[in-house]
Symmetry: C3
Subunit: 358 residues, 3 copies
């Protein structure tokens, strides 16, 4: 399976990367992450080119990594700077280094052409994250536990342009029967997809009702923003019927964002990083603890479904797959990802780059 390579992927939470080695497989490649004494994250291919020992089994010596077998030592640019037992390092001895960036509390790596790595391409569509970290926040941030999903990352992405599943998968939390037959709107701007639905004048879903405690019906929204192939933001919430549906109107209601970063470990497994932002009960620890529990439970419901599908895809037993109206987001997503990958492939072959063309 082909992955898009010239893009930033989350490799780890910032707090995971420190003065010890962290080994993590990304896009099928063994990567090792650490931080220099000055705090700069570093990502190297996790293989010593001498005997193939994972460098993550070695020892940090200042900002360099010393292999745990024979002491071959590489600096944070991947150059070999010491070969014990001989005076000179063999010419050209180096380990692959990945461009790396720290952003939104996470360490990102660029598995594609290093010449194209560009901090300006880092995901930056969620100003509420910075607000939550700022001095006078209107938003509170909750980081979910790092979630390991035994499915292809696109099954997760697909799930996140698919409001239709909520009624069936998340009965106890996000779903409410009223939604089931409300049509879903799908639109696309450049590569970005938006799939959305308003459910007017109906009971709130269980998770919203927990915090909104409305006496009667509400208007409820779901906006699924997808930045293919691997990042999604869901904007959802509820307010009194007839509420102002603008951004400001939603800010005045009970509103949440969930942000989702899917990093392929392999073609069939995914490192899933996510967090939640809310605009209510900002300093309330009981709400925070209850909310993260609710959302985690909800995502575990998705995980169970997607892992079962990943297993089933090995041998489908179904000769012709049914297509439904609710697949609009999925169809666009998969088509967009295929296009991005084949465009990348074409530009690599032609020696030019996407960046150079656009």
């Amino acid at each position: 399976m082909a992955f898009l390579r010239n893009t930033w992927y989350v490799a780890a939470r910032s707090g995971e990367v420190g003065r010890q080695c962290l080994a993590r497989k990304i896009l099928g490649e063994p990567v090792m992450l650490y931080r220099t004494a000055a705090g700069q994250p570093v990502a190297l291919l996790d293989r010593c080119p001498h005997r193939l020992l994972p460098l993550s089994m070695g020892t940090l010596q200042g900002d360099a990594i010393e292999c745990g077998y024979h002491g071959l030592t590489f600096d944070s640019t991947g150059q070999c700077i010491r070969a014990p037992g001989q005076e000179r390092v063999p010419l050209g001895t180096a380990v692959r280094v990945y461009p790396v960036a720290e952003h939104m509390g996470m360490v990102w790596i660029w598995p594609g052409d290093p010449a194209l790595a560009d901090r300006s391409k880092l995901f930056d569509q969620l100003p509420q994250w910075a607000n939550a970290r700022g001095p006078n926040p209107q938003w509170a941030l909750l980081e979910g536990p790092l979630t390991y999903v035994k499915s292809n990352y696109l099954l997760l992405s697909e799930n996140l342009v698919d409001p239709a599943h909520v009624v069936y998968v998340h009965k106890r939390s996000l779903g409410s029967p009223a939604m089931a037959n409300i049509p879903i709107e799908t639109s696309q701007q450049g590569d970005t997809l938006l799939v959305s639905r308003w459910t007017p004048n109906a009971p709130a879903s269980p998770i919203l009702q927990r915090y909104g405690k409305w006496a009667g019906n509400v208007d409820r929204w779901q906006y699924y923003w997808m930045y293919p192939p691997h990042i999604a933001v869901v904007d959802f919430g509820a307010g009194l019927p007839g509420m102002d549906r603008s951004n400001a109107g939603r800010d005045a209601a009970i509103r949440l964002f969930t942000a989702h970063f899917m990093t392929p470990e392999t073609a069939t497994t995914t490192h899933y990083f996510w967090f939640v932002l809310r605009n209510f009960a900002l300093g309330d620890r009981a709400v925070a603890s209850d909310l993260i529990e609710q959302v985690t439970m909800t995502f575990m419901e998705d995980k169970a479904i997607l892992e079962a599908i990943e297993d089933a895809e090995v041998e489908p037993f179904v000769t012709s797959r049914v297509k439904l109206a609710v697949d609009a987001g999925s169809v666009r997503l998969r088509h967009t990802v295929e296009q991005m990958i084949s465009e990348e492939e074409a530009l690599r072959t032609s020696g030019r780059t996407r960046a150079a063309v656009t």
Copy 2:
């Protein structure tokens, strides 16, 4: 590996199939079983044709099953009756349904051509089972625990036309040294095999002696009835030396039947359903509990042997296999099964059916 498809296989004990979904792989295919509100068992291919989620992860809605991902709903004939988010169900949306029958306390499925499924072909060679369930039973029934065997089902069938193994595998229960050199008689009528042996005037085997408590020697019988490829009944017991060897004579002695239903899960694993009938100590709970323990222990001895052979067959390390006189039953069994399967294959190819020919 080819399986015979146009025959009934036990899919589950009746008690396993109810108003929840039961997922079970049969002949390599994922099947899901449930029961309608009226009590009728249903077997469907365990895959939603939309995204391949196992239907068994969904929810029963009356007699229909609603997929756990997007709510696609199928009735008990496999027809799709609801597709949320759209008014009409896409034409032809259906899931494969297996012919199913309930019989002898078990739910059976027919994995072959549904047009050929015929209740009259259900196994019906053991009237003692119905007697045990009737008003004035002369027989008592004990169901063994569902046994999962990591070997091809034919290794189990082969084991059940093979009285010769009893002396070596079941030393502590069924075997007795006197048997070892008594010749085995093998005969065949149609597809049915009978392999049998009388061991006259010798000590009873440990398991029979437990219940018969004879002071001296006994005449002992073993009749192995095999209904290829996957059903066997063993008629065994003992009486005083010189006993009447007819059916009536055996009924007057200590007599047991074990019935064995081997359902391939895959080419290398088997769902093994079995029960025991006895004609002594009918209402005695202590005997019942002791007997089921003894027989279970005995079958676990077979399981250990057959699983080791399944493993060994992957890489035999033996260039030429030895054939023995005791293989007569096995040779006939394997030949019969091959013939049944190639006959089925030929009739499928020619567009005619075995039933149509005979």
Copy 3:
């Protein structure tokens, strides 16, 4: 992967082989070991040629093994001597027997041509072992636990002609920074390799200091003797600076031998047998217990490294491997082993044997 076949491999510790069957895979083949009533070890292919059941699941009957399925019985030369249910054993029924020898407290098998098996080719380069078992020992013997390593055996052998790794892998026990840049001497006599290093006038390594308790610096030696492909002896120790470096001089200092016997289980796993001899604190149980713990901990450090390398070799991710000066021993070892194997192959093809040529 090809193995050298015409050589003795350790199959088990003597104490493991008794009047029960021991099953062990060696060079990818299933072997079963037992001892006759007279105490002679026997090694047979662990497969009954009838149905392939491992013979080790059978029962010893005197010096013969009775198969656990149908009682086919083989004597200690592998000949079938009984086939229950028939008067005569089918002509030529036999199981493969491996030449076997007991030596140095271990049972060895010869997986190659039995005609070439020769007790004079058993490893016999460590007279200290016999001394430790004799009446007036100057040496004390400690057997390590049987160690199962999930790597190819040559990664272990390679590790044992490689003093350079000690500084990095065994920091806490055998290593000392002073060694790191001392050149290593490599020589070869016939197939035998010697890789060695003296580290003069430096602090003792932690494990030696534990027992030597020197006030100041020491001269330290490491002699790695390798008998390809699978046996190694390490002679190491320390004495006062300027010590006599001869064999007698080393005997007068703190001296240890570790002996290593690598038996391939498969191409990626190894049965690793080892023991330690020391010339100090001979009757001291506390030293014995401390020493075996230290050495075991040290070898576990190697095991972790080698298993990680075995895993990494499946998909190297490194296009060009670096060669270092410290690889001299490894290069000679691998070259010698390749030569031995291709020589064996050539002689087998030509119908002659290595023994006949040399």
